[in-house]
Symmetry: C2
Subunit: 337 residues, 2 copies
DNA sequence: CTGAAAGCGCTAACAC
DNA sequence: GTGTTAGCGCTTTCAG
């Protein structure tokens, strides 16, 4: 009557084929020792029966899940999407799968998420950033798998990291503006205290300005991170109102920078002639918009790829591996020249 | 010597606490019947021991994984990201987790992915689109869990669907252009044959044009889907070269439309006065750029939320549920008025 | 409210 | 190249 019958197991295939379950199991492992004909017959029978391999049982017995847990702040961000893409593609070469969670830029949520992900017994865990709640930190320190922090150089790494200095990257941008002759430079970012990478970029801006002996007080907080294009535009309007003689602005991301650019167009402020703009992240928008956007390339995809390779190296031979320091690249485009 | 000791299990906690493993198990289920004091003591002991609940074992025994498998064409697409966000947030209210895979707009890859995801024994599977390889289709038909196709109205649904007519949405845009007085209207999309939603939009364009008795031959293929902003810009240059008297263009996505817009600006073609532009997907860029972009809102996040609710309804009471037909909304902005 | 026994579906370990 | 046995860590089931 019911067409919801119990799905077949290896035992069922074994019975049909007149072999032991173990032989069926072996037939599914490419490298395992079964005669070619038995294997082919078994695989065919499996397909005919509509058998679906049960990873859960396999994982429990073999104590490996082929999962890599990954937390990112937001799924809707091209930079983090690129990192995840690099991770996923590289791990797929070894049939490992990503278990993704997003924190919504909230460390509390990150803690919750890390705990949830660890229950699935991933073989490694990748987190974004180097700051975590004490409990999250403890969970990561205690867990028995490789831990990789990304998109940052943690002050005190938990395990490994693949990242870059957000402050240093912003310094490159400030140096570029200064050597172009600008002195009155502003920063547009999110409200402090949530997005840690954004905060570090802001801190980096202040430090870089002070290193040049320049005033670092033109800081516009555009709302809760991540800053949207719209918020970038609003921030620009505010900036021009409060500090009308500003010559250049460093934006926490290309999205904010693009918003700022559109606001300049609306206000008939010439970019870059009257106002130079710099962004962060090398988003596609920056190379297509008019004028094109000066930005920082943080090599998002490479971060993912290198993280994946690092994980595979550790899992393969457990040898000590080197952390990866990425050097972000300043890309000067029309919005600042 | 080695600090890699075996992680504690429920049995370890039971031993320490002098209770049975079953009681420990119950202590971890919120609704389960254990005295409050025993539960609290057990949870504390677990925390002290650094215990991490093992979902794999739990899943195997209880035959439920709390996974929902999801395939999307690309992780780096704001529309699909919104759908996944809606899904994930809604499912999180029931502690269900998304197992995400992306197909790279390739049905072959989708088949591979579906097979891989099903091995994890998800409790439902959500796929993007209504076209699949025969084998993928068979896998989905045979599997014993709810199957939901999204972002489309499948000709022959496998299980349920939460989607809209891509052709119908484009018709709205064509009607808008026609009633604005345009007659020579073009379409910019990707190469045919890969992105099924893009192909349907193209087909819908042709049908709508013919319904108005207009010539539907101005079709620009901009490359392999998904079309980037850059490819949109290139396509626009080509369009103006080949069909200089074109009055309006329907683009397969806002990204292509934005690229087209920037090309117009570079060529000093006034938008919308000399050339009206329409996009698809209601991306953020469209409401910030100058001029703002006319587009179609397909309610990406709602698709995810409604899919999640549909899944929860089925899992909760197995009652027959209604498929969801979304009605996309035409948003007229400055690029066409 | 708590416990004992059995088993989810697979594979490690060993035997032949 | 193949089979047997046991058990991964949890929860269902039944008993009290």
């Amino acid at each position: 009557m019911s067409n919801i019958r119990k799905p077949p197991t290896m035992a069922d295939i074994a019975r049909v084929m007149g072999v032991s379950p173990m032989t069926v199991s072996r037939a599914f492992k490419a490298d395992s020792l079964v005669s070619t004909e038995t294997r082919e017959a078994i695989l065919k029978a499996a397909e005919d029966l509509g058998y679906v391999f049960d990873s859960t049982a396999s994982n429990l017995r073999s104590q490996k899940s082929d999962f890599v847990a990954v937390t990112i702040p937001s799924i809707n961000n091209a930079n983090f999407a690129d990192t995840v893409g690099g991770l996923a593609d590289t791990l797929a070469t070894r049939n490992m799968q990503i278990l993704l969670g997003y924190t919504n830029y909230d460390m509390q949520e990150e803690e919750r998420l890390i705990e949830q992900l660890l229950r699935r017994k991933p073989q490694a865990i990748v987190v974004t950033g180097g700051r975590h709640t004490p409990r999250a930190r403890r969970l990561l320190e205690t867990v028995n798998i490789p831990v990789i922090e990304t998109w940052d150089i943690p002050t005190e790494p938990i395990g490994h990291y693949v990242g870059f200095s957000n402050a240093g990257a912003v310094r490159q941008m400030v140096d570029h503006f200064v050597s172009a002759g600008h002195r009155r430079i502003a920063f547009i970012g999110g409200d402090v205290g949530r997005d840690t990478r954004g905060s570090e970029r802001r801190t980096g801006f202040i430090a870089a300005m002070e290193a040049h002996g320049l005033d670092a007080s033109r800081l516009i907080a555009a709302g809760a991170p991540p800053i949207s294009m719209r918020e970038g535009a609003n921030a620009m309007a505010r900036l021009i109102e409060i500090y009308p003689d500003t010559q250049a602005v460093v934006c926490v991301s290309d999205l904010a920078a693009y918003g700022a650019l559109t606001e300049c167009r609306r206000l008939n402020v010439a970019v870059p002639e009257r106002f130079a703009i710099g962004g962060f992240g090398n988003y596609e928008i920056g190379e297509v918009c008019v004028p094109t956007l000066t930005t920082i390339n943080a090599f998002a995809r490479e971060i993912g790829e290198k993280t994946a390779r690092l994980i595979l190296d550790i899992l393969d031979d457990g040898l000590p591996v080197e952390d990866v320091r990425i050097t972000p690249e300043l890309i000067v485009r029309d919005s600042s020249r």
